[in-house]
């Protein structure tokens, strides 16, 4: 059965190559049957990759340890859930999984466009098939999951303990979904370049794909942060690790693209810039994959390190860069803007600044990530760059973005008048100053934290005022109740109002980040019955009483658990446990932290050390001295809530529905929704 998977992979690879050649040739020569054949090969490749991936999962479930990949990432005691997720636990399987997701998206794109965008589709199908062929080629020639060992071991090596976590099972697939979904707008951009149709059609066609890719990439990054927070056991969620940075790079350019396409849609400007942004986003996705798997830069992610694969990825990346640059150069005369920028004080100006900040952030993260290699190449000495560097250069940029979030959506298109500025910004500026004053008087002196709250208040107020104005106007003119008017307003222009919700989530998330300025930490060794105290920046005092230590065998591991009674300001506040897990098969120990969550802060308990762990496991020492590290992390829950709000906002924007009415449809008697959206919508021609 498993061998069928390898055969399917080979057939899929040959079909993808064949389909890719047919698609481009059919497009250039106008041979519809060739293009149709190429499109059918996309479906076939998807079907074959399902068989191939199914075979790998079956090998995991059936404990076929003769396969090197299965033996390396599973063992008999591993739960079924983790055996299934073994498909993407290692490098080899994850490449097959990547190809499977891309084939799924490719099939959907081909099916969606079977009767439209026909001048794009040959090149779209061709591009998707070439990328698919590349991934399958890497799997077949450099990292084959169906590779058999010389002997069949009785058991496998088991899964890395840190990967045996719920968030880790969904973090990589979500990230891959984001990376692969960005291939679709990339393919349409290539098609637009080849066909010469560089108007807004390729952008409107891929609008939802871009949003979908951004949705998955954003959530993938947030899931990774959640995993780091609960699993790595040091109380952080973002570490500016090269692999984390690699996922952030395409997110930054993708977010810039989401904003700048609006200028092209509304004003017919920035055509070349948008093409460059989406090409860059896809290239950075490939770069991220290269960086993750090469091991060239030291990382906490000890994912596979395979130099052969690194060189293959680098070669493919170079090929893509050359082809993309050549296409843009070829069509350089077709990027003539349809309108001109009237004023820098306009929404276009705000979006340009927004793009500048995103690109600056991307380049600084890229530079910092690659700096050890660059410095070693130039000076012969590896100069490392750690989180303090990234924080210093990126926090000011983040604050600038936070302010722009409030300005961009409400400033007028074309040219903002003084009246427009006063009308839109008086209340938000007033609220922001009031919040700043209250926080200052409350003792908040950390500059970045204070700025974050002030700018966050400004942006949040602009969003609330926008919703309030729209809802109130609609309620008055249509005679609706406020809640109904609000729902109708959201339905009226989902993309715009979904975007506002995403911005609100971003503000909440940033406030969560700012809380880190007030983290507190204590470390103490305790005997059972002894206490330690830690103060919260919100004025509370937590008292932790070490109760007992227990050890027991569980599936795949032995758990050693310390129980701690928590009291907040003297009142009982539950029990926290922190664990050490000793994984039998891999002979590795991992920590599990205890977290007490409140709306405004987390109490984070780490089992830092046990003076006699063997005695605990053997039952000879039930009362060992234990070292606890305790942190109070203010506003961390806001990060996850902000992420949830962003996800909801993106879903609102993604949800299928009628597009906003265009000005041609405006009747002499203007309806209120058109008035509300007037400054954003009516410029469309």
């Amino acid at each position: 059965m498993t061998q069928i998977g390898e055969v399917a992979l080979w057939v899929a690879f040959i079909l993808a190559l064949w389909g890719g050649v047919l698609a481009f040739a059919g497009g250039r020569r106008g041979r519809g049957t060739w293009v149709l054949s190429a499109e059918r090969s996309v479906y076939a490749v998807f079907g074959l990759l399902i068989v191939s991936s199914g075979a790998i999962i079956a090998a995991f479930v059936r404990n076929e340890y003769g396969y090197k990949y299965v033996a390396g990432y599973s063992n008999r005691e591993l739960s079924l859930f983790y055996k299934i997720t073994g498909l993407w636990a290692g490098q080899t399987g994850s490449l097959v999984f990547w190809a499977l997701l891309l084939a799924l998206f490719s099939s959907i794109v081909v099916w969606q466009n079977r009767r439209k965008n026909r001048e794009f589709m040959p090149y779209v199908s061709g591009t998707l098939l070439v990328v698919l062929a590349f991934f399958m080629g890497v799997v077949l020639f450099a990292s084959n999951p169906f590779q058999l060992m010389d002997f069949t071991p009785a058991d496998g090596r088991g899964l890395n303990p840190q990967l045996q976590n719920y968030w880790m099972t969904i973090h990589p697939p979500t990230l891959y979904l984001g990376f692969t979904a960005f291939t679709v707008p990339f393919a349409f951009a290539v098609a637009a370049l080849i066909s010469g149709r560089l108007d807004t059609r390729w952008i409107t066609t891929t609008r939802r794909w871009t949003l979908l890719a951004w949705f998955f990439l954003t959530n993938g990054i947030i899931f990774g942060m959640m995993w780091a927070y609960v699993e790595l056991g040091w109380g952080g969620y973002w570490f500016w690790d090269p692999v984390e940075n690699a996922s952030l790079l395409p997110w930054l350019t993708g977010t810039a693209f989401l904003h700048s396409v609006m200028i092209q849609e509304k004003r017919g400007m920035l055509k070349m810039w948008n093409v460059l942004l989406i090409l860059g986003t896809f290239l950075l996705s490939i770069f991220a994959t290269f960086l993750t798997r090469s091991g060239l830069i030291e990382s906490v992610h000890s994912f596979a390190q395979n130099l052969t694969i690194s060189w293959i990825f680098l070669g493919f990346l170079s090929f893509l860069v050359i082809v993309s640059a050549a296409l843009v150069w070829w069509r350089r005369d077709a990027f003539e803007p349809e309108n001109r920028l009237e004023s820098a004080v306009s929404r276009e100006g705000a979006f340009l600044l927004n793009n500048l900040v995103f690109i600056a952030a991307m380049l600084t993260v890229l530079w910092g990530t690659m700096f050890p290699l660059i410095s070693e190449g130039i000076t012969g000495t590896k100069i490392t760059v750690g989180p303090p560097f990234f924080n210093r250069v990126n926090i000011p940029l983040g604050l600038l973005l936070l302010g722009l979030l409030g300005i961009g959506p409400v400033i007028a298109w074309r040219k903002a008048t003084g009246r427009n500025l006063v009308r839109n910004f008086t209340t938000p500026v007033g609220v922001a100053l009031a919040v700043g004053a209250v926080l200052w008087l409350s003792g908040v002196r950390h500059t970045y934290a204070l700025l974050t709250f002030v700018l966050g208040a400004f942006t949040m107020t602009t969003i609330v005022v926008e919703f309030w104005k729209g809802t109130r106007s609609r309620a008055r003119i249509e005679g609706e109740g406020l809640p109904v008017a609000f729902v109708h307003l959201m339905q009226r222009n989902r993309r715009r109002h979904g975007g506002y919700v995403v911005h609100a989530g971003f503000v909440v998330m940033f406030m969560g980040f700012a809380g880190a300025a007030y983290d507190t930490e204590e470390q103490m060794s305790l005997r059972p019955g002894e206490q330690m105290k830690i103060a919260s920046p919100f004025g509370h005092t937590y008292t932790l009483t070490y109760q007992a230590m227990s050890a027991y065998p569980a599936t795949n591991m032995t758990k050693v658990i310390a129980s701690v009674n928590v009291a907040k300001d003297g009142r009982p506040a539950g029990v926290l446990t922190a664990e050490k897990r000793s994984y039998r098969q891999r002979e590795e120990v991992a920590s599990e932290v205890g977290i007490r969550r409140a709306w405004n802060e987390d109490l984070y308990l780490i089992l830092a050390g046990i003076d006699d762990i063997n005695g605990v496991v053997q039952g000879t020492n039930p009362r060992p001295i234990v070292t606890f590290k305790v942190l109070v992390q203010p506003l961390v829950p806001w990060i996850w809530v902000g992420g949830l709000i962003m996800a909801i906002g993106t879903l609102v924007a993604l949800w299928p529905g009628a597009e906003p009415a265009r000005p041609a449809a405006v009747k002499p008697k203007l309806r209120v929704e058109k008035m509300v959206d007037a400054d954003a919508e009516l410029v469309e021609a």
Binding site: S299, E338, L341, L352, G368, S375, G386, F389, P663
Partner: protein, 191 residues
């Protein structure tokens, strides 16, 4: 008794002579200056000792900052502050010890790097090759701003605002847009 009386008189005579008086006063001044010097030396020594004995809070702050500028030689990719190994804990203790002795952040960081290697520095120096790391952000922001500014000026200099291609706004649409915006403003003002 006569001998004693004679000595007393001789002393009294010496004391009364101007030369002898000056000598005595000089001796007294020298003695006082000596005492003052001893006191000053004691004060200086005490002050230096007090400077070396920084307060625990200051020492903790210095140690935290120094630890925050170091990557862990014992955990690949992790900062020293979060590396969970016992050797990392020992290094953190050593840093705290140096801070308690009155060493500054820079001194501690350089000391640790001298022992463990330059590659564990988390924040690049602002000199030499390390400066390159810091230059990219101002360079990108400045360069990007210049490019955007140049483009904006070029666009505005061309004077034509609308309708280069078919997607431009016609006069009729422009009038309708202005009317809509006026109506929008009116509704808002009323509200």
């Amino acid at each position: 008794m006569d001998v004693i009386e004679t000595v007393r008189r001789a002393r009294a005579e010496r004391m009364n002579s101007p030369l002898e008086n000056r000598e005595v006063r000089l001796r007294g001044r020298v003695r006082r200056a000596g005492i003052l010097l001893v006191v000053l030396a004691a004060i200086v020594t005490a002050s230096a000792s007090a400077a070396a004995q920084v307060s625990p809070a200051q020492a903790q702050e210095t140690a935290d900052e120094a630890i925050g500028r170091l990557r862990s030689p014992f955990c690949p990719g992790l900062m020293l502050e979060v590396c969970p190994t016992t050797t990392a804990e020992a290094l953190r203790d050593s840093v705290r010890g140096m801070a308690a002795q009155g060493q500054g952040v820079k001194q501690i960081v350089e000391g640790v790097l001298a022992r463990h290697g330059e590659e564990w520095r988390a924040v690049p120096k602002r000199s030499g090759a390390g400066l390159l790391a810091w230059l990219v952000l101002p360079f990108v922001l400045l360069g990007g701003s210049v490019v955007v500014w140049t483009r904006v000026r070029a666009m505005r200099g061309q004077g034509q605002v609308y309708a280069v291609g078919g997607a431009g706004v016609t006069d009729e649409e422009r009038a309708r847009l202005d009317a809509a915006l006026r109506e929008f403003d009116r509704v808002e003002d009323e509200a």
